[in-house]
């Protein structure tokens, strides 16, 4: 690898807003630094595209390279990479039904059906523009909320996180297509999978069947890769057709652009949802993605079309996915609590470069916040431009014969499964869930419900136990706080909606 030798520069730091903005602009607009940012963006895009790699790995691999630069430049590089991985993952989600990273999983729900209909270009263009706009909304909300950082993040305690997870799980009953019973079975199955492994609260190793491999539970990325990518390749080989029908692939950039403009309200709404979820420490990008998607589906007048190639599904999930980065900077920078795996790595980088996240960061290193903001904006704009320029070329992948695409996707999928933990067991897991996913496809069971349950199940259980530990066993803690009551009401409404609709349709 090329080594860049630079003399160490003292970190320019300030707590004054105008000085902080000035320092941030100086750092970003320095020609050499800007080139580094562009390279970071390209690298982030590549990492985002390859399944199983994604943000955390990209950032972790870049940290040693950033040792040679001062803290401001290092954070600029890392924030730029973070912004790019989000969109990169949507490319394979849309074209190959394989999310680059878990937060892109919701994008494939409508993105891939669009590709099958020959509308890959439209999906990619909509994704590119939604990503950039979502990121802009996210950083704008970040800047507006800077004075209220502490109170926002501290509002969500264990009881609130528990109810938020329950509300997310409740949406399984209404948000997925197919029969409610099958989807509930899929969701419950996902929850049982989530209970495998070492429980950090009770300290019990559950359902490990005396294997070391299962001590860490069921790894999410290999499961997603198997459930979606491998199962889809099995299904495609059954019909031996191309991903999209021959001759039906259109460029779609104008349609994609038009769709985003037409649904600007959805864009802003989904960005806001993503940003709010990003605020919650530990919630993660996957949660933001799915909740925004489910919210968009619920509010839509043609909710049945979600999952069949409705561009609104792509807009909602991608806008939320990028807006969450802005939201997650608040707990990460303001409290030193990472919002997701990627921000956890970013936090590590900050500490390595001598910057202590927390309330003092806003007093002594406010320039870091503005560097992150500017880097996220520039990286998202750059990735969107790249996405728009390459959308029509990338869309042609959907016309390549299945017998050519399938082996390539399978190999990349198996590699991606291995790359996360360097464990061959993850590859076996991916193949196993590939077969299970294929059977779920056959019997019309929702694979999305499994993912939602796998992500939210641990959040619900751990925060339930944590809340009881805080209250010394008093269950009333779950029902006392105003935000908890609001979330309970939302959960009840979510569960009551399908019953109300069914009764109304019968009468």
């Amino acid at each position: 690898m090329i080594e860049l030798a630079m003399e160490p520069v003292f970190l320019q730091q300030t707590g004054n807003t105008m000085d902080a903005i000035s320092i941030a602009i100086d750092v970003i607009t320095d020609p050499f630094n800007f080139v580094l940012l562009v390279l970071a963006v390209v690298l982030g895009l590549i990492f985002g595209v390859l399944p199983g790699l994604g943000g955390p790995i990209a950032l972790a691999l870049l940290i040693p390279i950033t040792f040679q630069f001062d803290g401001n430049v290092a954070i600029m590089i890392l924030a730029g990479t973070l912004g790019a991985t989000a969109f990169g993952g949507s490319i394979t989600a849309i074209l190959l039904n394989t999310p680059g990273d878990a937060p892109n999983a919701a994008t494939l729900l409508d993105g891939y059906p669009m590709t099958r209909q020959g509308r890959a270009g439209e999906a990619l263009a909509a994704s590119a523009i939604s990503s950039a706009t979502g990121a802009l909304v996210g950083v704008t909300l970040l800047l507006i909320s800077l004075p209220f950082v502490r109170s926002i993040t501290l509002a969500f305690g264990s009881p609130e996180l528990f109810w938020l997870a329950i509300a997310g799980l409740a949406t399984v009953a209404i948000a997925t297509r197919g029969s409610v019973l099958s989807d509930l079975i899929a969701g419950a199955f996902g929850l049982m999978l989530a209970f495998h492994g070492l429980n950090p609260i009770t300290g019990t190793a559950r359902f490990t069947w005396d294997t070391v491999y299962l001590m860490n539970g069921i790894e999410l990325i290999p499961l997603i890769i198997g459930l979606f990518a491998i199962s889809e390749m099995i299904k495609l080989m059954g019909t031996k057709t191309t991903i999209s029908k021959p001759g039906e692939v259109t460029s779609g950039i104008q349609e994609g652009f038009g769709s985003v403009v037409e649904h600007w309200k959805l864009l802003v709404q989904s960005s806001s949802v993503g940003w709010v979820i990003g605020l919650i420490p530990g919630a993660g990008g996957t949660v933001a993605n799915f909740i925004a998607y489910i919210n968009a589906k619920q509010r839509s007048s043609d909710s049945q079309s979600f999952g069949t190639g409705n561009v609104k599904g792509v807009i909602a999930s991608e806008a939320a996915n990028d807006a969450k980065d802005g939201g997650s900077m608040i707990p990460t920078l303001g409290l030193g609590i990472p919002g997701s795996a990627s921000t956890a790595v970013l936090l590590g980088a900050l500490i390595i470069h001598g910057v202590t996240p927390g309330p003092l960061l806003f007093k002594e290193n406010l320039q870091i916040v503005f560097i992150v903001v500017f880097a996220l904006i520039i990286s998202n704009i750059l990735t969107s431009i790249i996405g728009l320029l390459t959308a029509s070329s990338l869309a042609k992948i959907s016309n390549v014969s299945t017998t050519t695409i399938a082996p390539l996707v399978v190999v990349i999928a198996l590699l991606g499964s291995f790359a996360i933990r360097h464990h061959i067991g993850d590859v076996f897991l991916a193949v196993g869930f590939g077969i299970i996913g294929f059977l779920m496809l056959k019997y019309d069971m929702s694979r999305v419900a499994v993912i939602i349950a796998l992500v939210l199940g641990p959040l619900a259980e751990q925060n339930f136990h944590r809340a009881l530990q805080i209250s010394h066993g008093e269950y009333s803690i779950l029902f006392m706080r105003p935000l908890s009551l609001v979330l309970i009401l939302i959960t009840v409404l979510i569960l009551a909606t399908p019953i109300y609709r069914s009764v109304r349709s019968v009468t």
């Binding site: 049982m192 080989m237 050519t404 590699l415 590939g434 009764v503």
Partner: protein
């Protein structure tokens, strides 16, 4: 090349015949029974989890028991609806109507329904899906035995050659993808790719950049 092709044809025929026999057997089993078998396996595994969770402390078993027992109930309900969809479809307040309709339509699914895109008969589709599954499992086992790079070379080349018969295309794509894997994963990312269990058994020298094989 001709000798290679002539040797591979009887093998290909044997594989095709075996797969055809297995697929024919599977398709004679009614789709409802296959579906029931799938849910039966799910029921069994969930039952095992519920029983296992009784060994844990009250805190540790709370959620698994709650969810596990609920899941067992849901699967039983699924079986009941599969057995008597007409009797129970009106009683669910509409929530399970979709399930009943879907189950009833499944009876004809595998026998009469043709794929919209390609008019592929269910039997041929099943054969292809089964073959693809076998390819993937075979690649997995090969990877475990001889490592990622070696298995990828064999899999990509043989898959494209068997399905398309184009040796140049198969060779070209193999070189490109494996080259990319080597450059990006091994050289740039320094990811210690799995080198195969055979390497640890047979007295073969390890490549210079190999790491320890994970447990």
């Amino acid at each position: 090349m001709k000798a290679l092709k002539s040797r591979s044809i009887p093998l290909k025929n044997l594989v095709n015949k075996t797969v055809g026999v297995i697929a024919k057997y599977i398709i004679t089993v009614p789709s409802e029974h296959r579906k029931a078998a799938f849910f039966g396996v799910l029921f069994s595994y969930t039952g095992a989890l519920v029983l296992k969770s009784l060994e844990y402390s009250p805190d540790a078993r709370l959620f698994p028991l709650l969810v596990g027992i609920t899941l067992l109930g849901l699967i039983l309900l699924k079986f009941v609806l599969m057995v008597s969809p007409e009797k129970y479809s009106a009683g669910g307040g509409g929530l399970f109507d979709k399930a009943s309709a879907e189950i009833m339509s499944n009876e004809e699914d595998d026998i009469n329904q043709l794929d919209n895109q390609n008019s592929v008969s269910p039997e041929i589709r099943l054969q292809r899906e089964f073959k693809m599954t076998m390819w993937i499992i075979g690649t997995l086992l090969l990877t475990w035995l001889i490592g990622f790079l070696n298995a990828s070379v064999i899999f990509i080349f043989s898959f494209i050659y068997v399905h398309e018969g184009k040796i140049v295309k198969a060779g070209g794509l193999t070189v490109i993808l494996v080259g990319f894997i080597y450059f990006f994963f091994i050289e740039v990312l320094s990811i210690p790719l799995w080198e195969g269990i055979l390497l640890s058994i047979l007295p073969i020298a390890k490549p210079a950049n190999s790491g320890d094989i994970d447990d």
